[in-house]
Subunit: 196 residues, 6 copies
Amino acid sequence: MSADDATVAFLAEAGHLKNLPRAGWLLAGIRQPESVAEHSYRVGIIAYVIATLEGANADRAATLGLFHDVPEARTGDVPSVGKQHVTLQDPNDVAAVQTAGLPPGLAARIRGLVAEFEAKETIEAVCAKDADKLECLLQARAYQAAGNTLVQPWIDTMLAAVKTETGRRLAEAAASQPVDAWWHKIVASYGRPGTD
Amino acid sequence: MSADDATVAFLAEAGHLKNLPRAGWLLAGIRQPESVAEHSYRVGIIAYVIATLEGANADRAATLGLFHDVPEARTGDVPSVGKQHVTLQDPNDVAAVQTAGLPPGLAARIRGLVAEFEAKETIEAVCAKDADKLECLLQARAYQAAGNTLVQPWIDTMLAAVKTETGRRLAEAAASQPVDAWWHKIVASYGRPGTD
Amino acid sequence: MSADDATVAFLAEAGHLKNLPRAGWLLAGIRQPESVAEHSYRVGIIAYVIATLEGANADRAATLGLFHDVPEARTGDVPSVGKQHVTLQDPNDVAAVQTAGLPPGLAARIRGLVAEFEAKETIEAVCAKDADKLECLLQARAYQAAGNTLVQPWIDTMLAAVKTETGRRLAEAAASQPVDAWWHKIVASYGRPGTD
Amino acid sequence: MSADDATVAFLAEAGHLKNLPRAGWLLAGIRQPESVAEHSYRVGIIAYVIATLEGANADRAATLGLFHDVPEARTGDVPSVGKQHVTLQDPNDVAAVQTAGLPPGLAARIRGLVAEFEAKETIEAVCAKDADKLECLLQARAYQAAGNTLVQPWIDTMLAAVKTETGRRLAEAAASQPVDAWWHKIVASYGRPGTD
Amino acid sequence: MSADDATVAFLAEAGHLKNLPRAGWLLAGIRQPESVAEHSYRVGIIAYVIATLEGANADRAATLGLFHDVPEARTGDVPSVGKQHVTLQDPNDVAAVQTAGLPPGLAARIRGLVAEFEAKETIEAVCAKDADKLECLLQARAYQAAGNTLVQPWIDTMLAAVKTETGRRLAEAAASQPVDAWWHKIVASYGRPGTD
Amino acid sequence: MSADDATVAFLAEAGHLKNLPRAGWLLAGIRQPESVAEHSYRVGIIAYVIATLEGANADRAATLGLFHDVPEARTGDVPSVGKQHVTLQDPNDVAAVQTAGLPPGLAARIRGLVAEFEAKETIEAVCAKDADKLECLLQARAYQAAGNTLVQPWIDTMLAAVKTETGRRLAEAAASQPVDAWWHKIVASYGRPGTD
């Protein structure tokens, strides 16, 4: 397989996260929940926002958030009820296998993203980890507003897990803000919430 | 609305891309296609890869790709058949409204991401634009393998639209590589493709 | 393209409304909502009922309701949050383009349906417009019963928007009637609500 | 139950067709097919077109098409494999029960729609029946283009079942026209089929 | 058709229950509910459990539960609102047709399963019938927890319908136990309910 | 937790297989594939058929097939691409934990089912294992007929994996029989394949 072919195969593999449902939501009885890719998208967005407000390298934090679940393309998203029954290889080792055929410089860069996220030592990694939690909290709030009654534990746990000052403030706001706050005012200004 | 509340509302708005189907695939008769968020996730991944191989700032390119469709949370994803009937506000103006309540520094940063992507002047923006095309090509290939017979035009157009040398090489590889290449060999090594 | 081919192409285009989710429900966090075609179906039914009770031409009102969203096959269903950012061509102009290749008499008839609905001058058009609102109200009630907590504004707005005396009375009944009223009594008569 | 309440209950019942999958497509292995409501929507559209070209009352034909499956809200859509095992009450009798509580004039009108469609004696009913077949044919073509290999028998049967001269001509065109004909040319004029 | 071909055709027909939504949940406004196959799976599991606790032949009870809805592959799942309008052939007669081409011994065995279940005379059949009710109750509870507000009548009816002492005790427990009881404690032991 | 509560919790846990998509089909790009429960349902059916034809205890084989994936309620369905990265606890140990709170006799029986299936020593276990393969083969054929182009390897592997003489014969028939064979003849006898 040429380097180009290996690179395309890696991009196809990364695309598999579009097909993977987030396992926690399945436990909560949400039959067709968001994908791991959808989660990763907003983790990247949130990491950018937190890092900006924390004075860190926002582009780096966003990128860490974006890539942090790429190893799940191989392992799947193991649910919390499975932790005592399933042993996962270290994500760094999974990433090493996933990037084995890539041009060496590119492989090293991608492994570096996974390693930095997992090590939680740089401020950007801490921001991206917080983004991972805050994203989950926001999604739990959205599922609550859609009717689900089982996701409060996710909100409580995520609230307790964020580490940065910005993350804490945003998580608290997210835990109380109605999920339609962003569009409620816009729509009210038209006198109607619907569509034509 | 406090700055924190406004920031959370922006993150909720960004999450709306999870709910928006990509309009082009609906035209192709794919009833429950990927979301704009899923597309944006892989655009970010691909932008990182292209930028690395082009020697550009990969974190920046990934971030540009990740944010490039955030204005669609307001406008929706207008399909190509609608272009002659729909006039969209400039994405920069949409982003200005979307970020109006954010802490000023953060708002400026996010508007800067949209502006840089739209201007296509930096090498990172060019890489992210190429990633947008290549992502679409890869997804069209995946839908073809899933049976859809209508998406070849997407592949042809995207092949012609990439600009960087890396993008061109990867697009050509993507247009011919079987979509199961990434897992076919792994699975064959177990003597079976299925699951237990 | 022959007249027959153009007619079939128009029917295929009308079928695209089956693929288009109603954008308002996506805002409300309903990930796989009804299609525009499903909405149009019941708008036609309701228009027939209102027009009958108002003493208008019920067949005409039903037909106006049935066709009223056909221009959305081109433009998509622009959500209310997009109104300040998106300018849509006049539906009459969209319909003119959509029917351009049809046999002239047929094209004129279809354009006439769109024009009459948009002008809101005939009693049949007023009934069909009311049906559009009442259909949305009934669907919002159904989503509430399915658990969604965000759709009350749709109900309130639609209640205020109906114009005919019949529409007002039915909207008030719809806003308070449990959505299972139609089957609750039937099922109770069997001593059980389920299925064998 | 007041007349208004009974009318709203009827409209809720008519809405149940949104939830009913077309049973034939389930046989063909299409797991989440169109609903009966989506089918009925386009039957109405097609009936209007055929009746116009046949010189019949197009509004009436559209309305007949729109209402023709309302009895299925009670009976469900019995698949062809079930015909030898399931005996359905006459649709006129089902409609009589469905409309029992409505204002008498309205009930009579709706029963009249079902009766006229079933009797196949008026030219409008014949056009609506043809529309029912042609709609099925067009949908089968769409599922073929989406990859399904089992629906050719639907196309063949529907081709043979249409009765009017217009229906025959359109069915023949529909059986050979690519399903993307309506958007292919529009999109080509932009140099690309995708979305931005 | 050879005996092997007929046997495979029967297995394909049994697989059609994967495509059939349970009609009762559609009435309750659940757009993409469980399939009849999913229901049958757990009816088998529950029948095994009840029969074990009742001292009956658990393997037999499980098998009766597993096969009890196979006739629905032909007839569909007729909803309770349809009972007054639809006459179904006796399930034994449907099963006779379904198994007509099978090797005679196998056909007799499968008909025997349907006959035993329908006759409700053996303790194993009574356990399997109870399992059918309890499964429905458990699923209704799951849909309630997911937000649906219309399914309480299913719970009440199923509670009243179970016959065995074990079935009654389990139904009472099921009617009050939170649906997340099985995973709540496991997850709490990790300090968080989510997924990594 | 009382024994009844523990039993109900086990039944709720078994129901989680309804929510788990089969991981192999996700690899093949099938976005909303069958659930593990749907698979288990037909494994039970097929095990009954094979065991009957092999002269084994058919009720036992069906029950083994029905329960064989219950441990996946904890571990999830690990895809083949994950095997080198994920270590699963022995299914017997998982089942021991899953049944820990049940009445001891019931717990022992359920653990016995898992143990017998995993040991592959009894003829009933061998039949159930073959059923697991044949079910996968039949489903792969169904996805092929629905358009998917990536599942041939599943067919080939399953063909090679069945052990019993009956399993081999049926697998060969299944690999060549059109998936619509079971309904094609029935429907043709009505002169049309569709629905009314």
